[in-house]
Symmetry: C2
Subunit: 192 residues, 2 copies
DNA sequence: GCGCCAGTCTTGACAGTGTCAAGTTGTTCG
DNA sequence: CGAACAACTTGACACTGTCAAGACTGGCGC
């Protein structure tokens, strides 16, 4: 199946190869030719499916946002806990480093891609839902972030980022989830 | 001065050109040859001063960490306010996008560079000092981050990151400092 | 059952990149 | 003055993304 002229699902294979490569050296070091070689096709094959190198990265990011939304939704539905959604946020970053890093590097992506926009919106919705203040817009309009949600989002996002860039002391890096739970025990969100 | 064979201060000129280029397209898109051309020297000149492309980026990051530490120190000394240090953190990220982005991309840097380590340590110290809990180690050992400091650091770092990647709604992007102050009004750090 | 066509992939080329080796120019100091 | 040394240049190499052109296939209508 993988050595036919018509690959079967080359698009899938290329994304998988890309994710693997990104996991090792980051999204900016991705080589289209290396990805193609990894999938056993010629160096120009990716262009046909993704147009661009940015196109491939955009596809990875979109898939990442979908998986991210799934993870956040699962956490909220399983626990109904604001904090557990935050934990899931960080856990996703750790377990899906390649996806997560790609998602938050807009300069490498086609920001106008509709698939990306759709998946991104899903994640945003999951995040707002999990922020504990579902409060649908007064006339059914899209719900917005309030100060508490923005603060919580910033906190978990920053925690994930600092963790992944190696900026935390070893004690935190050894047990990130524990450290985050302790932070949660010390932080209170209120109405100012 | 700039067109002599011996440039005078080519190192400085290259860093400046690099910062300018990074501000436009991010650190991963930096082209050594373009930087060299911008400084009016041959394409291999940068190698002599920085060895590597990573070497140049490391120099930029180190200088960034120094400026960052300065900014945090200034904010703390001027106000003695925990919150104002956080504001200064985000303001630095906005005003020095090129430096800030480079500082937090370890995969592009020589992480073992002593200059980088020194400047990084300065920033870390400034951050701990500004976190409001100076509490020097019992026996003069380096002070550590506690849960409150980790939480506050994560919050401002995440806020800066999400802001710069365009993930915040327009209302927040239009007045980031105001939004951050409002978040600060809603968040309380305590002892759990 | 057959031909043809749209879609899939390959081949070859191009300009641009980082890095290395060797050579050239300038400065400094004995 | 000359010799050692640093700063920079020149040329080459392998590698990259992208484009144009061609080759192969599977499946469609007839």
């Amino acid at each position: 199946m993988t050595d036919r002229y018509h690959h079967g699902d080359l698009r899938r294979a290329l994304i998988d190869a890309a994710v693997e490569a990104i996991a090792e050296s980051g999204p900016s070091a991705l080589s289209l030719r290396a990805v193609a070689k990894g999938a056993g096709v010629s160096h120009a094959a990716p262009a046909h499916h993704f147009g661009d190198k940015s196109g491939l990265l955009t596809a990875v990011a979109a898939e990442g946002y979908d998986r991210f939304a799934d993870a956040l939704d699962r956490a909220w539905e399983a626990t109904g806990s604001f904090i557990e959604v935050g934990i899931a946020y960080v856990r996703f970053a750790i377990d899906n480093k390649a996806y997560f890093e790609t998602m938050f590097r807009p300069e490498l992506l086609h920001e106008d891609d509709p698939e990306l926009a759709r998946a991104e919106a899903r994640s945003r919705a999951a995040l707002i839902r999990g922020s504990g203040e579902p409060k649908p817009g007064p006339d059914g309009e899209a719900p917005e972030f309030n100060a508490n949600a923005l603060g919580a989002w910033s906190l978990v996002h920053g925690f994930a980022g600092l963790l992944m860039t190696g900026n935390f002391p070893p004690s935190v890096a050894a047990d990130p989830e524990g450290a985050l739970r302790e932070i949660a025990n010390h932080v209170r969100f209120g109405d100012g």
